[in-house]
Subunit: 327 residues, 6 copies
């Protein structure tokens, strides 16, 4: 059976087993419905369309169902591969296992060695000298360790792969450390920056409905990961009994770390309730934005030929990018 | 001794005892410093200026100190009263008491019977039928009861008087109830609206440095009252053990109430990390804004003569308002 | 025969008589035209589509024509009911009457007792003490009484029902009066506010092509109801001979009332040529906006199931709202 | 006695008689008030300052008073001439006349032959073929002829000289006619354009307090010249009995001409309640803006030396302009 | 054979030979592709659609190919003519010539006598007294004379006809000269203005892929005509050896002329790297904008009937314009 | 003699020799002028004020003059050191030399070993494999080597120190290289990025009047460094004869490198005539902005005590930053 990355329009018809990621039912201008089905396996993603939709189709083709095609026809739409769904079968987990597949065969995974990098991160955090930053960061990471290592960073915008949340967060840490020697002249608290970087998106664990990220949760839609993360951090400080100092005043290091989360989108209009008021938050919000943009633009570039332009990228204000270079 | 409201430029010189609210040291274009001293007593506020500033002045004239003038000269600046500070004495609490004054003689107080209105509010909250809204709201109000009834709503923008936070919050509740019968056709959860209204600014208890509101706290500056209030509400749900429902999912009524706080500024650019996504949040954010505007514009109107215009009001995009009407 | 509110997708085919509200001819991507036909009767509105369009269809199916279906098929599009037009007949007024229907059977009507509320309004206006406000307001309302009581407030945005203009305007009056006791401390001229509220949209009588509001008039498109209303008010002052005071100067109360209309959209970018410069205009523009938003959001909420989200609402910057509550 | 244009810093002290245009009392950082006095005569304008201000000064030095200095000292502030007021006398009209001056000696006048150009304009209007445009335009111009020929176009922004309103309006007419032959290919109604151009600012007659333009009137501040002009035009149509056509419908040519006034600021954010929806309104709003900008920038350029930059120009978003060229 | 301008929906089927201007392949909601083919000849432009698309169609129907229809069916879409492509032939240049056509039969041409107007322009430039402006302008125009006289000014936005670049540029020159006499009072360097006007879009010769303007070039997309033009002007100064004055300083007249190009879009947000800082750049950018708007709005007006409205015009912020007047 | 960094308010009066960086003459509200004099030496910068200004002062105290104070009094303004100028002497270069000082004693210098880092850069550039990028970059750097190594990056905004242009540009190069290993998955042309980074501000050599950066040049003000740099790069390609490829088409690698300069401000509103359309330009513009922000915020932080806030920083939208950390 073919993997998604191996499908091309040069093949007339292929056999395929894939996981359904998202389903959108739309109505065409001829009055009949059609279905946009996002397929995924470990090797990539492809969009498919079913041009005739029955009630049965609506019931069967759901996010996270396994769909099997004896024959499916590769097509092309604006230069991008698209499959045309005819007959199909829905397989349950049992059958999938029977056929020798496992769950991980159907998820795109972050291209990093998470286990090893996580060990590196922990080593790094152990060396953080500020006790508040250290305790809160390790506390929160450990508390949500399982989700933190496996969740994607978003549904579609960026790092939407298994382990994407960790990949994105740890990349920010590594970027900060990488430029450190160029800014030794400046009054930057690198411990605060590293801890803020690794924690800034922790609320995404609640923002997404689950690790398959087929939707946002109610909390995600009504509160957003920034406010969730901030409240979780505050709760962790309570749990660790370090929310206040001895005099009963709020621990200012807790406040600083909360600010790193709250200001991580950089501007109020991007959802940050407060904008950076410390130099570390400027650096974090800059790298957060840069890392997401590189992922997204590169992702779009991989879909087109060298010398061509991507389609309009919504998160880039609708701009198109030129693929002038090939690795 | 005169009260601040009785001072006018028709008096040549007056005896005065007042509390210092804020002090700003500025440097004039002749190279010498001068001091802007905001004075307050129970009857109002007046700005004073000291045109020669010594190191001793800087040490003595501080927020919340009591300042006594045997003779101070009423002046006028752009049609607004201004005092010219010459000699002065700083009195300590003891001397103030000795002279027969008490603390409350030096704070402008909200023009409402807080005790009675608070009783009304509690009666109202007892009737809330949604158990989550009811428990969280009563829980949080009771927890911070003392501060909630005495804090102002802001340093300068609006309801900057003792009890201003309660006054502002409860006015929103009363406004919501007042228009209720005009919107019986609509799917509005009035319990959610009332509870959201009374809680929406609860974070201001931490945002201001203390009840005299001479400054914002570090948390206030780096986190803001919206994020503080949201985290406090979440913590209260934990304390009451209602953060999750039986199935372990987050209590959606908690989420709705958190959303009321987070969306209360209405727009991201005004500091709301999420914009209203439920009809109740639309109403709350509208009344929040309206109540603050009425207070502020009216406050500026009281400073000018009928037929005149106020100065530029910063929170009104610098617009000036006409005083065409006198109560 | 079924009423529109009784149609559901559970019915296979229904008999129907309805009024055509609007017709849009569009071309599908298969190159053939299709027709979007907005149907209405006293019980509600439903969208219908005709997927094959002939020249005869274009001539017959027009706004305000009565369309009869022996059999029409209920469909669903993105969870919202949609009818599929096959054969149809166009009935003239005579036939409609013959069949026992009357004009009012085909218009959605504001859910208020207009006659009674209008009497209340008049009683209220009689008590206005400012002679200019009183004379102008009663004069203008009386002059256009018939239209004022029957026109909708808009084609689609809000209060687009028979009597919607009065409903919306009088709701503003009632809202203002409802919050009055909470703002007794402020210098607000309630007479001016009430008169401004009832008059602020009077220009809509000219902005809409007629009471069925199938389109905007040329004046509506090129001038807008704000400028039309302002000129009508000025003309009324001329008619009543109160445009100028005895000294030949323009009557400042006329100017204040004109300002209430001109500033009713609150911001220049929303079409107000001048922004509020009196406190009454702040309140009016706030309630104008709030009342329209509540109507529109609620209208969208009624179209979806509890727990679901509305579609994107254009007048809410494309935001979607959650239906979390059911009356 | 010197004229204002002849004063320079090379003179130690000069004798001067001027009209006071505007007076601003400000308070310096040393706590004492000072007065900014804008002086004018037929040859130009100069700013003067009085650094010590008595109650008597406030009463005597008022807009439109005549002020006489036996000796006044020319100064320089950021390269711009400024006078320092010491002793002065206020002369009444009688004394001014006695000394051989007349009113027109104290007003800057538009550098055009208004009488002759007005004759040209009238000739032009007589040739307008559209009867509505012609009747309304001639009607309104004739009705306010005296003010139209003598009023300035603004207090400070542009064409703030006697006859400035006519000068500005007729320049727009001439500009439109000048480019006409370059746009013969386009469907432009030049009659509408010309009539709109000459009428677009007619409301300024009411917006300014009087022809000396020492302030804006209450109508000016609360309504603005655009809304005033629109209502005046509507009233004129009533007076001429051409507001409606025979069928009782509103005269669409009246509507078009009203649109020319309402859309003359081009954008809602600049105070136009409706933006251009006809090609003629695009041209008018463009020339309105261009003519005002040329006047203002040139006015600032005349104040500086060749090779220098103007100060920040508020109406140009604070930009500065280079004087690279000298006529 | 018919010309494009003679086609109407009253004809059932027509014979046609046209040039393909642009081709867009789109996918309909029934899953099949269709082709939008923009056709042109000397008499105008018409859009055609091919509803079934084969690989062969994609290869044959390309920009600048000649397409011949024995029979093509006129249709209508939203009141605008549209052709439905069935069978077709692609003719090569030879066959086109054989049939008696020439290249110029297939391009819409600017409605001006370019040869004569170019002679006028050159005469004008010969009279420019500033030697730098004169040398640079004549130098650059002469260097790219062929392209300058034949290129369009854009692909679609405005003056997208053969000779459009010259037509647009020279119209600006004529407009500037036309209003000159109304601004004799101002310090305007008319030589600079004229030279700037004629050169401001010279970079479009590189921005467009060739004179048929079927696409933008890579330089056009990555640099833009403003930056290209600026660099070309600088290079021309080097070639003429006038980039620096005798003292080795940069020739300030070169700088001024470069500024005219760089500031010609008026605002940074419209792509001008620097905004006007001289009065001449204000006038140029105003006329540049006005001329483009008149062309575009008029072009849209020609497509609709009198009394109707155009479709939404993207370059006018989506506004629609009323065709109230017919030449 | 004291160095600027050693002056504090604890000293009553100090002897001082410094270079004048900038002079601003302002007029106080008492009508007299005062002078703001920015002083610099190798150890830092301090603002001084002269409260009485004579014509002689204006002539003597000019940018780049050496000013000597036998006694000058340290003051404080809003917590920031300020000197009060009394008597002074202006020393010429000769006298400065006589006293044992040299030019470099009066300029703040970038805290990097420029010679060594420049060698590193050259080594790096030698390894660039793309011949166009390599030739253009080395060509341009070599051509303006002297200026490139010594110019500051701006007058005041950021890196306003000797060697600041190189320091800033090379830091971007080092930052890009530092994060490289975190983005090996992406299609990034690191050669293009590095060359773009080192060249992006090369136009500043012309934008500033000279290496002491006491003002911007006319080209700087009217063209800006982005447009200047783009034209210089184009000229260099001409000189190296690589502007076009063999087929006569423009060298697309030149175009890409020009785009890196033109898009380096990231947004049109920040002065980039074209926004990033390649992934490398996204990274460059992000680091350009980040490096400038870190410099500026850190610079402001050094002026205040730990626990305090900076003043409003204009380039940070007027935000203030907290100094919570000390190196």
């Amino acid at each position: 059976m073919l993997k998604l990355k191996d499908i091309s329009t040069e093949l007339n018809s292929v056999e395929l087993l894939a996981r359904v990621e998202r389903v959108i039912v739309s109505t065409g201008s001829n009055g009949s419905n059609y279905m946009i089905v996002h397929l995924a396996d470990a090797t990539g993603r492809v969009e498919a369309r079913k041009w005739v939709v029955t009630d049965q189709d609506r019931e069967l083709i759901k996010p996270n169902s396994y769909i099997y095609f004896k024959e499916i026809i590769p097509n092309e739409f604006r230069g991008i591969l698209q499959l045309k769904i005819g007959d199909y079968e829905i397989w349950d987990e049992e059958k999938v296992a029977q056929k020798g597949f496992q769950n991980s065969d159907f998820f795109v995974v972050a291209p990093v060695n998470i286990e090893k990098q996580y060990a590196n991160l922990m080593e790094l955090l152990e060396k953080v000298s500020n006790p508040t930053f250290k305790a809160l960061t390790i506390g929160l990471i450990k508390k949500y360790e399982k989700e933190f290592l496996i969740y994607p960073a978003a549904m579609t915008i960026h790092h939407n792969v298994t382990g994407g949340l960790f990949w994105h967060s740890y990349t920010l840490v590594k970027n900060c450390l990488a430029i450190r020697e160029n800014y030794l002249y400046a009054a930057i608290d690198w411990d605060l920056l590293i801890c803020g970087a690794i924690l800034h998106d922790i609320g995404k664990i609640f923002e997404l409905v689950d690790q398959t990220a087929t939707d946002y949760s109610l909390e995600g839609k009504l509160l957003g990961h920034i406010s969730i993360g901030n409240a979780e951090l505050y709760k962790m400080a309570e749990e660790l009994n370090i929310a206040k100092d001895e005099s009963g005043k709020i621990n200012s290091d807790l406040t600083l770390l909360q600010h790193m989360i709250l200001a991580s989108h950089g501007k109020k209009e991007y959802g940050s309730p407060t904008e950076p008021n410390i130099i570390e938050a400027v650096i974090l919000s800059t790298f957060d934005n840069l890392d997401a943009r590189i992922f997204k633009i590169n992702d779009e570039l991989t879909k087109v030929e060298q010398g061509s332009w991507t389609g309009r990228i919504l998160s880039e204000d609708g701009k198109m990018y030129l693929k002038h270079y090939k690795k």
